[in-house]
């Protein structure tokens, strides 16, 4: 192991071109992370032709640079404009944007960047430890455990949303939005109204862009002024970013829990970073005693999703490298890059090309550190966006957002969908219905339904079968604990 690690370090430092590829990957990753709707999968797909003439390790360095930087870039727009650069950054909007409104954008960016870096390093560390025993861990999660995992995400976030009744209503709306489209199990088109566009259901990016970016720009239009209503550009200090880094270190427990959640969920194929970041957020809101400020600009609400968001990359590489089963769209395209360069994922790759695997791990580590450093330095200038006059910001952000919604699958229907969800998001803000529970329910809907149906087929219709799966039972106990703790707290508050 150490021999391979040293070989990988020596390879990386042997040629200045390697560092140039890493820097290029980081720059592209940051750019694609910052622009809503693009994301890592698009960046890797677009850079793929460039790697044809490269050595496999150099191609890995370029792609690793992108993967390590993209989620850190996405946090910037999530915090400053309430527009998630990539879908998993949506959870960062919940507390990141209110912090910007309070004139604490530098603090939020510093915290997000540092949490993202620590989460990323943690995920890679786990990857190194787990790769030899990856097969056993991935097999823990069968359909019953997946269903319980989704249920845990939904319940824990709903109880932490403040208004439980409205949180549950929003979750139901989210589930019904998730039902829209062709149902593969039953073979029926549901809630499509005969529309061809709705046959595939709503794509997650236009929904997020609408609910967060467009709805918030509508709010800003009604309110007027700039995003930040306190202080001025002269009050921006570099020390704000340093304070953010300190806040991350102070809340190390949230960083660790977020990183564990991110790595675990990242390792489960098909679940994805959105679930990881939202579950980390809801878990942080649950385990924190003083959680009233969550959703109103609590720095812990930025640290939790960001640490999970970057940690998921390490986790996601476990099934990708060990079995050739990609955990996300980004990993699927990366898998294509590996195969294209003659590296066939599986146990053989882990044994015969161990040094190449370490090149990838070191690249991701380098990309995480480089992107974090860049964002921390650039934060001083980036936060000025929050002081721009809303009349200039609103048309620019709406244009970029709708363009981002279109860019995902080049469908004009996505632009209209984003506008519709913008209207829905604004109405939810206006009438105090939490948007977070709607989003998490939408994200978890297909996972819940698919695994529920598969489980019931496995158990031949006997629901008690869920109790025979150990992982499912543990996850169910977590859900029950989340509900019980919340009910107990409410009861104690009422008595007090």
């Amino acid at each position: 192991m150490f021999e391979s690690l040293l070989t990988a370090v020596a390879y990386l430092l042997s040629d200045s071109a390697n560092l140039a590829y890493l820097s290029l990957g980081v720059a592209v990753g940051l750019l694609f992370g910052i622009i809503p709707g693009l994301g890592g999968a698009t960046a890797i797909a677009l850079l793929l032709p460039l790697t044809f003439g490269m050595a496999p390790e150099q191609a890995i360095i370029l792609m690793g640079g992108v993967m390590g930087a993209v989620s850190a870039g996405g946090a910037v727009t999530a915090i400053l404009l309430n527009t998630p650069g990539t879908a998993p950054n949506a959870a960062t909007c919940i507390d990141g944007y209110p912090l910007t409104q309070q004139g604490k954008a530098g603090l939020a960016i510093g915290a997000a960047a540092s949490a993202s870096a620590i989460g990323g390093i943690f995920g890679l560390f786990i990857l190194v430890l787990v790769l030899p025993i990856a097969r056993t861990i991935v097999l823990w999660f069968g359909p019953p455990a997946f269903f319980m995992l989704a249920l845990l995400g939904l319940t824990s976030l709903t109880v932490s949303s403040g208004n439980m009744l409205r949180g549950l209503i929003a979750a139901c709306i989210g589930l019904f939005i998730g039902f829209v489209g062709y149902d593969e199990i039953g073979g029926t088109a549901r809630y499509t109204g005969g529309s061809d566009y709705l046959w595939d259901g709503f794509s997650i990016v236009p929904v997020l862009i609408g609910l967060f970016a467009i709805a918030e720009m509508m709010s800003l239009f009604v309110k007027g002024g700039s995003i930040t209503q306190v202080g001025s550009q002269t009050s921006i200090r570099f020390t704000d970013t340093i304070q953010g880094i300190k806040a991350t270190l102070k809340n190390y427990r949230i960083v660790v829990s977020g990183s564990v959640i991110g790595t675990l969920i990242g390792a489960v194929p098909g679940v994805g970073g959105v679930v990881a970041s939202f579950m980390s957020y809801s878990f942080a809101a649950q385990i924190t005693k003083e959680n009233k400020t969550f959703g109103n600009g609590d720095i812990r609400g930025v640290i939790a999703p960001e640490s999970a968001n970057n940690a998921k990359d390490g986790g996601g590489l476990i099934p990708t490298l060990a079995f050739g089963v990609p955990g996300s769209a980004e990993m699927a395209i990366f898998l294509g890059v590996l195969i294209l360069h003659g590296l066939n994922p599986g146990p053989t790759l882990l044994i015969e090309r161990e040094d190449t695997i370490y090149v990838l791990i070191l690249t991701l580590l380098g990309a995480t550190i480089l992107s974090t450093g860049f964002i921390c330095v650039a934060a001083f200038y980036l936060v000025r966006i929050a002081y721009i006059d809303s009349s200039i910001l609103i048309p620019s952000v709406i244009s970029v957002s709708l363009l981002g919604a279109y860019a995902v699958q080049s469908a004009i229907g996505d632009v209209f969908a984003a506008a519709f969800f913008g209207l829905l998001g604004y109405l939810m803000i206006r009438f105090d219905y939490p948007r977070i529970t709607l989003v998490i329910a939408l994200v978890l809907c297909s996972l819940m339904e698919r695994n529920y149906t598969q489980s019931m087929i496995m158990f031949q219709g006997d629901w008690t079968g869920f109790f025979q799966d150990n992982t499912a039972v543990v996850l169910l106990l977590f859900s029950v604990a989340a509900l019980s703790i919340s009910a107990f707290r409410a009861l104690r508050k009422k008595k007090a």
Binding site: I169, C172, I173, D183, R190, M218, L403
Partner: protein, 159 residues
Amino acid sequence: MKQPRNIQTSLIVALLILMIAISVLVTAYGYSGGSGIFPRFIGWVFTGLAMAECLVQLKASMSTPATGQISTTSDTDLRRGKVRKEIKGFLWIGVFLVLLYLTGFLIGIPLYIFFFLRLAAGKSYKQCTTIAVVAIASVYILFIELLQYRLFQGTLFGG
């Protein structure tokens, strides 16, 4: 404390949600076999929750007049002003969508930015033109030149 009219609005919203819940539940019964099981279950939960919200709001609206809170003329004016701004905001998004649909991104974006800045924000012609040109130049360089995207051309131009 909330204004009586706000509570009435919340009740109307709750009733609207209840209607939506009932309609999606009824629709779910139209799906055969496995496709309907989960939506039906969630539909019943949704309807129950929406009914609970209606009751909460009904109770609140019935108890509020007893507090004797009366909205003043300035409150009403403020509320009307806010609603007017909200309608304006949605109209601007509607205008942008129509522009995009008809003329595509490369023409729609600068037109929308120019007219929004001129008519909604009252900026000078010079400012409006500069910002619109910078915006579309950035979009062109990034999406067309660098990323080689084929942006929607608009139905008027064969898109």
